[in-house]
Symmetry: C2
Subunit: 305 residues, 2 copies
């Protein structure tokens, strides 16, 4: 899968991914109201709005971006109807040829992690039939429980042609509370980084493995160090834009060939229409505002590569 992601990144000259994290606050009121008028003040109405919001943004940006990253939490908030919108979003993105990075941050003991891995990346056999639950291309994984919790995700990568990104140093303000603690003279996230390289060792496709890492844009010095510590690991970089990361901070996450990292922006792209600089598009053209924000993000990031 990492080969497919790299091909898309190179073809579109776009080492970026758009986070599809719809909320009632971020979606245009007109869009939400349209569905509430049709289906009432119900989670089904919100779910329809979420899917339409995502669909319009994807339609407007598909030629510019290699991938999307739906944050499943935003859908789980609305229960089953929300998860149905998540599923439709994954399906639609794949129909458009976009790679789907499911931001699910799952992790559990072996048998439960295997269940998550099969549900989100793999498949289950029911009698003679094979059934795919959510069927994303890649997924984020939480490493706190150790190798036997990550392995079931790693194991699904090769047979199913999928990939994962394991949390290493996350973008949020208090990520340091545990991740930065010093263990044997080095921060814990460096030990996690070593394990990520190890987990990926049998999952290489060319220079990179299907086991990637999450390292926040908000910590550029750590990005530089982690880039070196994980030479075969693709880095998913959240925290650009709304969380404070800037293009100039990102150079060190990349290798000299301009590969090795993919930068995510969520709110900065999907709610661009709410920002002064894109207000001219108007709420009804929110997807065009998103497209303009993607163009600007690409210019910012490609200028430092």
């Amino acid at each position: 899968m990492i080969t497919k992601l790299i091909e898309q990144i190179q073809e579109k000259k776009a080492p970026i991914v758009v986070g599809l994290d719809p909320t009632l606050k971020l979606m245009p009121k007109t869009l939400v109201d349209k569905w509430i008028n049709e289906l009432g003040q119900t989670p089904e109405a919100v779910a329809e709005a979420m899917f339409e919001y995502n669909r319009q943004i994807m339609d407007a940006c598909v030629d510019l971006i290699p991938a999307v990253k739906p944050q499943i939490a935003m859908y789980e908030t609305f229960g089953i109807p929300g998860l149905y919108a998540y599923q439709r979003t994954v399906e639609y993105a794949k129909q458009l040829g976009l790679i789907v990075i499911a931001d699910i941050k799952r992790g559990d003991i072996g048998t439960s992690s295997a269940a998550y891995a099969l549900g989100h990346l793999g498949s289950v056999k029911i009698g003679e039939y094979t059934y795919r639950g959510f069927d994303a291309d890649m997924a984020t994984v939480n490493p706190y429980m150790g190798s036997d919790s990550v392995r079931p995700f790693v194991d699904v990568c090769k047979p199913e042609d999928k990939g994962i990104f394991v949390l290493c140093k996350t973008s949020n303000p208090s990520s340091g509370e545990f991740q930065d603690r010093i263990v044997d003279g080095r921060p814990l996230y460096e030990h996690v980084a070593e394990k990520i390289e190890e987990w990926g060792a049998n999952n290489r496709e060319g220079d990179y493995s299907n086991v990637g890492a999450v390292v926040g844009a908000t910590y550029p010095e750590m990005g530089e160090r982690l880039r070196k510590l994980m030479p075969h690991t693709y880095i998913l970089v959240p925290g650009y834009g709304a969380q404070g990361g800037k293009g100039a901070d990102l150079k060190n996450f990349f290798n000299k060939d301009g590969l090795g990292a993919i930068v995510n922006s969520s709110r900065g792209i999907i709610a661009a229409f709410q920002k002064e600089e894109y207000a001219k598009y108007g709420e009804e053209n929110f997807a065009l505002a998103s497209r303009a924000a993607v163009v600007d993000m690409l210019e910012d990031i490609n200028s430092v590569l």
Copy 2:
């Protein structure tokens, strides 16, 4: 919520919780086949079997147990139909008066954690209506991303009368890879334990807080130490039975008054009919086998308290 859990534990003299983790391997073949005959080899059939399996086990054990702990991974494997079975299981358990501990191990940056917390424990407003997604009583949370990822779950506890259990030292074999690493002279899980006490400080109900901890039965020495380090923290103890933990190992997880811990068993109870000692019940009476296994588990655990 912790008060309600303690009341149920005392009333039933049962510091235990039954893990509702149905899989195709664990469920009786006759039950699965019944639904496949009706609905075909489909996830919908498996989901119906899962719900009926859970329902029969809960019906058979409700007078003996205070709580159930559905592992959401087992349901997510089967996509939306699976999650619908999860939702029905939560609802049915609550109708029976059982406390539901949602084993979801979620955790993300602030806004996403808030979305999870509202979806699984809280509610969202849609216009004038309040909608509850999965509405469990308590949930497990992953601390790797630090305070701002755990806080949204903590914050929902008081207004919604809910509780959480934060992963501290998990029961799986490789939990030590990161959790046991020495930070400032002590294992990382002890630093997590301190934070758990801190997160619970404003969430006390009597002696205990609504912010609990997960500590695996498979590590009894650590259980003893963590019991002392977290005096106001209820401990959810997985790993009993199938994962290797025994009653004699559990004494140290409890306080002298017999409170302070609740021990989970999943496979050992729900698939008891597959074990030689309960084979006499026969596959069709799987729920009675589960009841017998609960009785034996209670005897084992109460003998050391």
